[in-house]
């Protein structure tokens, strides 16, 4: 229940933040990396740091993470297949061998089929996702955004303490 409330807060907080649609879209894209790929990996630490440090929507990141976690679970068989194919492709063997024997890089678990498959998938969808999200947020704000902002429900959500924490990271 708390997760659902947080998700709704994130959604409203992001959509009605002072950030630009581009900042919100960039946050969602980075959040999608966290959701699509297995969480405890080195690249996700970098993604999280970027989400915190860069002037993009942190709420968008949380929203993207929450939205893409179930998609990640659903697409795991696809990621496994994709990663397996990439890892065992003869033409890429030299690249993987060299990366595998380079310090730090193996800690990213790139040699795991699901990790590599999901990361490649997330990279492939990142640009289309960015542009689609940016357009959708802009359309939302010029159409129904103001009416939602005036609603009691929105005011109740934004008045909670969690929202105050969120405001610290808003763009």
């Amino acid at each position: 229940m708390f997760a659902l409330i947080k998700l709704i807060q994130s959604l409203f907080g992001a959509l009605h933040s002072e950030g630009t649609p581009g900042q919100l879209a960039a946050g969602i894209v980075l959040g999608s990396f966290l959701g699509l790929t297995p969480l405890f990996n080195l690249h996700n630490a970098l993604i999280f740091a970027a989400l915190v440090l860069l002037n993009i929507s942190f709420a968008g990141g949380m929203l993207g993470w929450a939205l893409f976690v179930p998609i990640g679970f659903l697409l795991d068989p696809l990621f496994d297949w994709l990663g397996h194919g990439l890892l065992l492709a003869p033409s890429l063997r030299g690249l993987w061998t060299s990366l595998y024997n380079t310090p730090i890089v193996p800690l990213s678990n790139f040699n795991n089929s699901v990790v590599l498959g999901s990361l490649v998938f997330a990279l492939l969808v990142s640009l289309p996702l960015f542009f689609a999200t940016r357009w959708a947020v802009a359309r939302y704000r010029v159409t129904v955004g103001e009416r939602v902002r005036q609603s009691k429900f929105y005011r109740a959500v934004t008045a909670s303490k969690v929202y105050n924490v969120y405001k610290m990271f808003r763009p």
């Binding site: 297995p38 440090l53 990640g72 993987w96 990366l99 595998y100 024997n101 699901v114 498959g117 610290m168």
Partner: protein
Amino acid sequence: MSRLKIFRWRAVAPLLLLFFIGCALWWLFADTIARRESQKVGTQLLGAKVEIQDLHLDLKRGDVTIRGLTIASPHEAFKNLLQADELVADIDMIPLTEKKLVVDRIVAKGLRFGTPRTTDGRVAAQSGDGIAGRVLAETREWASQFQIPVLQLATGKISIDSLDPRRLSTIPAAAALSARADSSRRAWQASFDSLRLGPTLDSASAALERLRHARATDLAALNDGRQAIDRLKRARDRVTAVDRTVTSGITQLQTGLAGLDSARRRDYAFGRSLLKLPSLDAPEIGAALFAPGAIKPFERALYYAQLARRYMPPGLLPRATTGPSRVRRAGENVRFPKERALPAFLLRSAELSFLLHPTSDQPQQYAGRLTGLTSEPALYGRATTFRASGPQLTAGALLDHVRDIPVDTGGATVGGITLPAFQVPGVPLRVDPGAATTQFGLTLNGDTIHARFAIRSTHARWMRDSGFANSTIGDLIWQAVSGISNLDVEARLSGALHHPDLAVRSNLDEAVASRLRAVLGEQVAAAEKQMRDRVDALINDKVGPARARVNEVETQGQAQIAQQRARLDDLQKQLEQRLRDLTRIRLP
């Protein structure tokens, strides 16, 4: 227009705080995390529970100390493979940045083997998952291929009611022989008919009659007589040709009769196979008594050898293994070995000190050394070796996976080990070998296996089980072996790995066989006679008429030949005699 900020500087402090919290948590829980991960990975690798009481990481010195290590047996439910009081590993830290674990040296103290445990520690045997599960299933299937004779003897009346006449080979053979005899008779009759001896005999009789009334000057009659003799000779040649055919046919029919005897012997053997009689052959008795127990050490050694081959494959090609277990799909981890680089795992040297007879008053301490255990032998370039020695132990192993065809050899001789009593398969007897000397050797060269397992004891004791009263064979074996305290069992395995030959012998084989032969010989003979009578009753109805038919056809054929030949000979003699009488010169 305000300038767009790229960095959110105020978030640096919370991020640093998060980082430091992470470091603090690592410092607090690193030992616990490493212990749990070690347990998880060890369990996954070996197919049996790996438990660690305490693990301490000292990253500054590169030391890992493990206390209270317990590895359960993958094969036995309530037994440990080994326990160790303490292991101290000296780890090379730099390769950790490449996610490679290089252990320069391990010192293991207080190793104990085969200790009991209270819970079932088998994992691969129950789940069947992972490499260990697959290897365990493969080795179990491999062990189940051996056909072990069973010592059993039916109690009460020996019955052969199940003898099915349709499965006897003599009956169809007799029917076929009868048919062949009839066919021969018809063929011979056709040959006789084609001789056309009647006209020849008639003309010869007529010529003889003329000669009887002719004078010496009646040249025409003399010529007729000579021509008749020539015709008789040619007719006899034809009879001789038919005689050869008949003789050949008779030989074939005689062979058929001999075939009936062979078929009868086969039917006797088939009938005997339906009787539940113990084998009186010594090698089979050895296999029946000890093979089930002898296969187990081979199966277990093969399990570890095959695991080593899976985890230490030769060559430098990428290798996929099951990924880590997590909420998300595990996927596969692919390793990419590279020439002149470090392997993913390398244990350069391990010094082991262990106890044998840990529960006795004077446990014996031994020492061993393991070198070059690695996940990529081709990178390390040397074989894995192990050796251990002590007052009553010599053990060694070499796993050479450097070349394309892996060669694994290992052997051990352990003296003074008190082996547990075990059940003799098929009979309600147990044997307690007592303190015995055990030898084991295995060579696995590619897909060829040669292995030997031997137990030698001078204090074997035999015990009867509760079901003993109803077992005739058990009683007989008890009589044979109860006074024998020496036990010398040897099992050998050789040949292609997928289908090797197993030979088991023991010093008890001949004793048991002799005893069975002496006591059961009469019973076996009576049972076999009963079986032969039953077989005879079934086949004699067919064999008797077939034999009579063959004899009749032979006699008939030979008689016809003799009769025709006699008539021809008689006429020829009479003609020649008359010609001699007519042409004899009489002096006044």
